[in-house]
Symmetry: C2
Subunit: 186 residues, 2 copies
DNA sequence: ATACTTTTTTGATTTAGGTCAAAGGAAACC
DNA sequence: GGTTTCCTTTGACCTAAATCAAAAAAGTAT
């Protein structure tokens, strides 16, 4: 989906506004397995994914990577609290496929927020949407068996489940690779 | 904390704006153990808690109550997606103590959102703050032992842990009452 | 193609925390 | 104040999923 269509799906901008807003984004082509942000860095950009797939993850004390979220086409993506509060990121962001994104800096985003009342609204709506999804995952993780969590995953990210390494999905779901492998076996 | 101080802590309203905004809220006194919303109802109000404590919970298929969140003084509270999207609530909201709240309807809230650009900003900031907290909990729940989760709880809600029944906390943390009791023993 | 690395699968074993059951304590109600 | 109901603690036992280890499979690079 194009950025402008995505924006329109949340808030009714007119065509001039839309043009101005999208002009603040830059298109970037990012190869597979590239880190967009590293843990500890302040996240400078917010991204819209036009094509491809990205995951966020963090490192446990023992060095294991824990996938925190998957972002696919047609979504905003960032290390959200790092970007908005300009604090060190708790997460890495990594492309899982060759990707095309539109990016915008914090400064430009703030400029749009203050220029357009409707842009603030969009920010609020997108945040609430994300909040709902995270709450959803939380409910799945908190009280479901490993098999049920995997089913939640299939429902929430149907496209992803066979495009990324099993280990990434396992850690996203809070289980080991061995367990997920056994679940898939049937 | 008074509502106006809370609003000011997120966004710099001037005193006229503040007066207008707070005038759209109604003060309500709500006794302990009152349901503010039931599962399946559309949530009509957003609340600011001036005094007291509230929890949200849902019922599992087997009828068990699962605490989903605790809200204490100085926070906005609602069945967020039900309120903003006007969909049936997945949760119950229940006061845990005699409480004093300020409430506002969806219509009035929308009115404020469209009247004040800064109000949208406040909505966005409050949403992101909530999002950060939920992500936090998710991380705690997903990969920590029962004991560590309890420690997360003590850090996140220091005031709550000895004011509410143990069972509510246990389900909030994704463990049984028996387990939490054993953890507390030491 | 061949060698090397990484990921996935499979099996054996362990363990944290769940379940079941029953006894103490606290709080609510008459 | 005494009953009744609910909440918490404790113990015995069980189970889902983790850990450990090693083989098989899939990718990547030379």
């Amino acid at each position: 989906m194009e950025l402008s269509d995505f924006l329109l799906s949340l808030t009714p901008f007119d065509s001039h506004e839309l043009k101005d807003i999208t002009s603040h984004f830059e298109q970037e082509f990012i190869p597979k397995n590239t880190l967009l942000i590293e843990q500890g860095q302040v996240c400078k950009k917010l991204y819209y994914i036009k094509k491809g797939m990205v995951r966020s993850y963090y490192l446990k004390e023992d060095g294991k990577e824990i996938t925190q979220w998957f972002f696919s086409v047609g979504k905003f993506m960032s290390s959200v609290d790092s970007f908005f509060q300009q604090r060190p990121s708790l997460y890495y962001l990594e492309t899982l496929e060759d990707s095309v994104v539109y990016s915008i800096s914090k400064e430009k985003m703030d400029l749009l927020f203050s220029k357009y009342h409707k842009m603030e609204q969009l920010g609020r709506l997108a945040s609430i949407e994300m909040l709902t999804k995270v709450v959803n995952k939380l409910n799945a993780i908190q009280f479901q068996s490993a098999r049920e969590r995997y089913e939640y995953m299939l429902a929430e990210f149907p496209d992803i489940s066979h495009r990324v390494p099993l280990g990434y999905i396992a850690s996203y779901l809070g289980m080991t690779s061995e367990t997920l492998s056994r679940i898939r076996r049937g």
